[in-house]
């Protein structure tokens, strides 16, 4: 069953806000092997002008992918999740994410198509803060390979 192109443009709001925590930022930075002081030391982050520990540039994916998963798991979309691989990923920041941010995500299926038997879906996530301001936009392209 090929993916349903009529689902292009469909939007899925955030289920609940995500509380960006200092310890989770430290844990994530350690997991990627990065000892940059801005990720671990509040004084260092503040010296750079940030309100709290800075989150690494890919940290936000944990939040946006949870929202993306809801969108791509929509049965009406017809995407076979068992064959999905991550094709592309992109982040465009308005400002860095810092500990203390309370983030919400709206995910839109920006593009839904079948190319040479492979289904490709691009989900765009817009991440906003407690003030309603856009913080970062992310795009995830997922590919479900055809049966061949």
């Amino acid at each position: 069953m090929a993916v349903n192109p009529e689902y292009a443009g469909r939007a899925y709001p955030s289920s609940r806000p995500y509380d960006v925590g200092a310890e989770k930022i430290r844990e994530f930075a350690t997991a990627i092997g990065d000892d940059n002081p801005a990720y671990h030391d509040l004084d260092a982050a503040r010296a750079l002008g940030h309100a709290g520990l800075v989150a690494p540039p890919t940290f936000v994916f944990s939040i946006t992918f949870a929202a993306t998963r809801v969108a791509i798991a929509d049965p009406g979309l017809g995407l076979d999740y068992s064959r999905v691989v991550h094709g592309d990923q992109r982040f465009a920041y308005v400002r860095p994410i810092v500990a203390g941010d309370l983030l919400e995500v709206t995910t839109t299926l920006e593009s839904v198509r079948s190319v040479a038997g492979n289904d490709m879906v691009t989900a765009r996530s817009e991440v906003t803060d407690a003030a309603g301001e856009l913080v970062v936009t992310t795009w995830s392209t997922l590919v479900a390979r055809g049966a061949a």
Binding site: P56, T58, P96
Partner: protein, 140 residues
């Protein structure tokens, strides 16, 4: 600490990075990222879905490559855009040796607004694992 925009030239290379990944690193990243897909820790499952062995999270590879850029910029908040295509997986065998990923970065373009574009070359086992790996950094 951050290089100044005026001091940077197209073609400048960033300090490269070599990372050794073992299974334990994938477990740690799974916990930190919330991605518990068994292809990243369960060899039996990985083989059942046609993979040669457990593979690293693509997003872990993207994060490792990003370290070259944030290390160069100093302030990670200076990274305004970052994108990659996932071309090939990094296979992480449970053999006490694991996988070695190499990252190199080059300044590809200087933009009018004080930003520069860095292109990343990320390889494993002699082949590129990420394509179109570009980061845009705002420099002072």
């Amino acid at each position: 600490m951050s290089p100044a925009y005026d001091s940077v030239a197209v073609g400048d290379t960033l300090a490269p990075l070599t990372v050794h990944l073992e299974r334990a690193d994938l477990v740690r990243y799974a916990g930190a990222s919330g991605d518990f897909n068994p292809i990243h820790w369960n060899e039996r499952f990985a083989r059942e879905v046609g993979l040669p062995d457990v593979i690293a999270h693509g997003m872990l590879t993207m994060a490792l490559a990003g370290r070259v850029v944030t290390g160069w910029a100093g302030d990670p908040g200076a990274v305004v855009e970052y994108g990659v295509r996932f071309i090939r997986p990094v296979v992480v065998p449970d053999d006490g040796v694991g996988a070695t990923v190499e990252v190199a970065g080059t300044v590809k373009e200087k933009l009018d607004d004080g930003c520069v574009v860095v292109e990343l070359l990320v390889t494993f086992d002699g082949a590129k694992v990420l394509g179109k790996a570009l980061a845009t950094v705002r420099l002072p």
